[in-house]
Symmetry: C2
Subunit: 330 residues, 2 copies
């Protein structure tokens, strides 16, 4: 069992003071090149590694960022955040940060979790997902000057805090235009009830595209909660209306999957496009709008490190463009 290697061990071995070793690690430019090399060599030989605990105690920084992990939900939509998490972990690691996970039942408890994570673990920052109108979490964090980035726009004030998001409206617009090009005129939309930022955004892309093509969107859409069953019955409803659509754009793959079932039972010629390009969509051949999740995660890390390194208080937000993945259903 080898002796524990501390900064003092390295200092002794390289015949310099502890502080010089610390400087080699943190501010190499103020150390003479020759000395730097000697210290670096000692570090390598001894296999020294900084103790995050000790560093953290002095500096109050932990090189840890946290992301919330949701309870295992339906598995279709959950996969989006999981993929984002994978990307986040990889990119954060490259930037020298690690990702810590936490859970929280509701917003109330999520804020309690922040409090705990900050005071106990000295967390450096948070990555929020799924922001909503008047999000209590962002106000709490901003008030305490905690660094954070949101994956999802602040729907009330776009400059409220740093964020990265995918342009949902552009995604549904692209899907709608694709269907129009294929000759469809009555393109329907299955989305969520008004009020959610993401949902309204996705609906607007479809609506504006229709309008731009001179088509009145009235009566061509439905608003339901997310889910396969909901998708199925609202699609049946849409198909049995006065002027049934010949194609439909959906706000999620769950809805699209349900719609697909309704379509197969009624009129298999109707085209369906989903949103999120989940594994399920890939498996059943569903055309879907794909979010660049890895890219989004990477940009989140960029923004967060920019804030943490003090480069800028509020770096420029990032809005990424989704792409349409064509498969059998449209």
């Amino acid at each position: 069992m080898a002796e524990k290697v501390t900064i003092a061990t390295v200092a002794r071995h390289a015949r310099v003071s502890r502080q010089t070793v610390s400087n080699v690690l943190n501010t190499p430019h103020i150390v003479r090149e020759e000395t730097r090399q000697r210290v670096q060599e000692a570090i390598d030989v001894l296999g020294y590694r900084v103790s995050q605990a000790a560093r953290q105690m002095r500096t109050g920084r932990s090189r840890l960022i946290a992301m919330r992990i949701e309870p295992t939900r339906d598995g279709i939509n959950g996969s989006v955040l999981d993929r984002f998490l994978h990307g986040l972990t990889e990119t954060a690691e490259l930037a020298g940060y690690r990702v810590l996970l936490y859970t929280a039942g509701d917003t109330q408890r999520e804020i309690a979790a922040y409090d705990d994570l900050l005071s106990a673990y000295d967390l450096d920052g948070f990555v929020l997902t799924g922001t909503d109108h008047g999000d209590a979490r962002t106000t709490w964090l901003a008030q305490r000057e905690v660094a954070f980035v949101a994956f999802g726009r602040p729907w009330d004030d776009p400059t409220a805090h740093p964020w990265v998001d995918v342009d949902g409206a552009a995604g549904t617009a692209r899907a709608t235009e694709h269907l129009l090009e294929r000759g469809h005129r009555r393109v329907g939309f299955l989305g969520w009830p008004a009020g959610s930022g993401v949902g309204d955004d996705r609906r607007s892309g479809w609506r504006e595209s229709l309008r731009a093509a001179g088509i009145d969107p009235a009566g061509l859409d439905r608003a339901v909660d997310d889910g396969i069953a909901e998708g199925e019955w609202s699609m049946r409803d849409l198909l049995s209306s006065g002027e049934p659509p010949t194609a439909v754009v959906c706000a999620s793959d769950s809805l699209a999957l349900g719609a697909l079932q309704a379509v197969r039972a009624t009129d298999p010629a109707v085209a369906v496009v989903g949103f999120d390009d989940t594994p399920v969509a890939a498996a059943v051949g569903l055309t879907s709008v794909s979010q660049p999740l890895g890219e989004a995660a990477a940009r989140c890390v960029d923004l967060l490190t920019a804030v943490l390194d003090g480069d800028q208080q509020s770096p420029e937000p990032v809005l990424l463009q989704p792409s349409l993945v064509l498969r059998h259903t449209a």
Copy 2:
């Protein structure tokens, strides 16, 4: 900006020494009840929280456990580990631990990651997933007496280290028996090439069930790498053989999905059963063997905390039973 609350602040407020506060926190039974209450009250009033960094520096424990997160793979099989991760985070939190994520390209680099995590972050333990024959990781960890649990058996020596696993053979056996009960006789199997612990295990469940029913399994199975495409062509191959099966059990949902496509194109009456009960299976109505992932994660935390608290050096391993989720395809 409130003054930072340390153990000394609490001590002053409760008119006791720091050590007594520490005792209230760590060894409450040696503190007089009256004092304990007074201290506890001060803690609540002041909103005190222990600084993990300081504690960690003195004790070398961090109340952090790590799990590896794989690069975003095909999305179908990845979801299994994601669901496990969700469960792990939730249960660990209840036990007072948090989950730290890390990535690693190969076994070599995974071991380097251990080294880093241990010396820099003083990690308490690891949860390994997907162990294989002669796993280099487990030997490395065991040698250094690092606490860890594996989700997956040590295929060489069942007492090598604490583990939790799901009885794959029982799963495929249950699936096979279900098909036999439904009147099928020639029940096929689509699995992976021999050599992987998990794969061999799942294949054996099918083989033994057939034998027990007096059926010769020879020629009824295929061994291919995992994937939808692989599932499809090997199923086509099986269906065009001399004595084609009337039902097939698969080692994964990916294979089953491929098989399903082959079946639809050839003979829709052939039954298909998958493995893992992924969201995709649920979406397409695929009957599948379901692993109790939440339970598995919980038991992993149990075993790990048992080791960490020093209760037992090597707690009893846990083998959980999977269940068959019946849907349309079988």
